[in-house]
Symmetry: C3
Subunit: 159 residues, 3 copies
């Protein structure tokens, strides 16, 4: 199981590196051929199959540079040990050709599957937790719990 | 020991996720009932016990969104293998209801303990390493070593 | 191998912590005596040997505070198991005495070697993937693949 954890974390990390390298062939090979990947409601933001994902991610060339840094990996294995749900967080920094930037803090929920050749991402959904003013892509939103009725903010003197 | 490392790292990562979800029941369950948690000198910034911690962290609803990303985990086990010191770094991004943000780069020093139900945080201290102008919470400060007497800055031409 | 992965990741994380602590003795001890470390083309930006590295990194005192957060660790072991190539990403935040800041998103490529006393970094090269306007150090540049001939940006309506 520990070897599998390492292999799955490697998979998620390689996605980040290959995206920043814009090595889309290497990136697409991390996914199952029939993968479903969804970033947001836009037409290009959901892909069916790794070939369509590869083609769709050519959109990332509209940025001059990107940096995707992964954190907070959690992995829950299914009963058979050949599939797992991996949750992680990402800081994704993007720079436009004019030098302006946009950063998004997101979360990935991935269903990963063991194929004969190794672990692959079969389903990925990204949600946006936070973003700066320069990031304007319409991603799915992460939701947090609402405060209880009657909650009042603390006094600044107590912080 | 490797299984314990994974379990302890999971514990630290779940803290981040549950805080961003504002799932304070799940967050409080990561701590021992008698935990001591200190973020800074303010009255609400130290908690004794997981119930008080849960209540105190309701203050985080004054932010509209937060994202806590963990990095740099180091774990040193005690002699018996049932306790450990875990050190880590966190990037904590916070957004106010008016859209303004504050980010702090901090460090956690955690004493973790194995209970029958699993590893829990018994003591946490946070220190602030860096922050941007928008982050104005009075956290404890991380200290670095001072330069030796007579240190002079390098010439920009050598950088 | 898993124990070695943990030890190598610890090594990379300790570098970050000791640099932020400015504990340069502890930092230099993470490298082989004959290490080669290169950050950029400037005279102080390449070091031969851990003693020279220690001395060269005194330049970091020109910052008032720094925070180095590691991510995306990938480790490939050599055939004998006593050396490895470790790749990682770093967010490095720097604050000047006047309060202005500079952040760089970089990548480390490290050749690590098992010595009798443990794993050490024998060769490190840093490359800059991204940076904000406040970061003006001349680091080596990370290169990504160019778009294919005839690539056209997507329609914003599809994003």
């Amino acid at each position: 199981m520990l070897q599998d954890r390492v292999a799955i974390e490697d998979l998620l990390v390689r996605y980040c590196r290959h995206l920043d390298e814009m090595d889309l062939d290497a990136l697409a090979a991390l996914f199952t051929p029939d993968c479903v990947v969804e970033y947001g409601p836009g037409r290009l933001m959901t892909s069916h199959g790794s070939a369509q994902l590869r083609s769709s991610l050519e959109r990332m060339w509209r940025w001059r540079r990107t940096a995707h840094h992964l954190a907070n990996v959690e992995i829950d294995f299914g009963a058979g040990g050949d599939d797992a749900v991996a949750r992680s967080a990402v800081t994704a920094w993007h720079e436009r050709p004019d030098g302006s930037t946009g950063t998004v803090l997101g979360r990935y929920t991935d269903h990963v599957r063991r194929l004969p050749a190794g672990w692959r991402i079969a389903r990925r959904r990204m949600e946006m937790v936070g973003n700066d003013a320069g990031f304007d892509v319409n991603l799915y939103r992460f939701e947090r719990q609402a405060p209880p009725d009657g909650w009042t903010p603390p006094s600044p003197a107590d912080l």
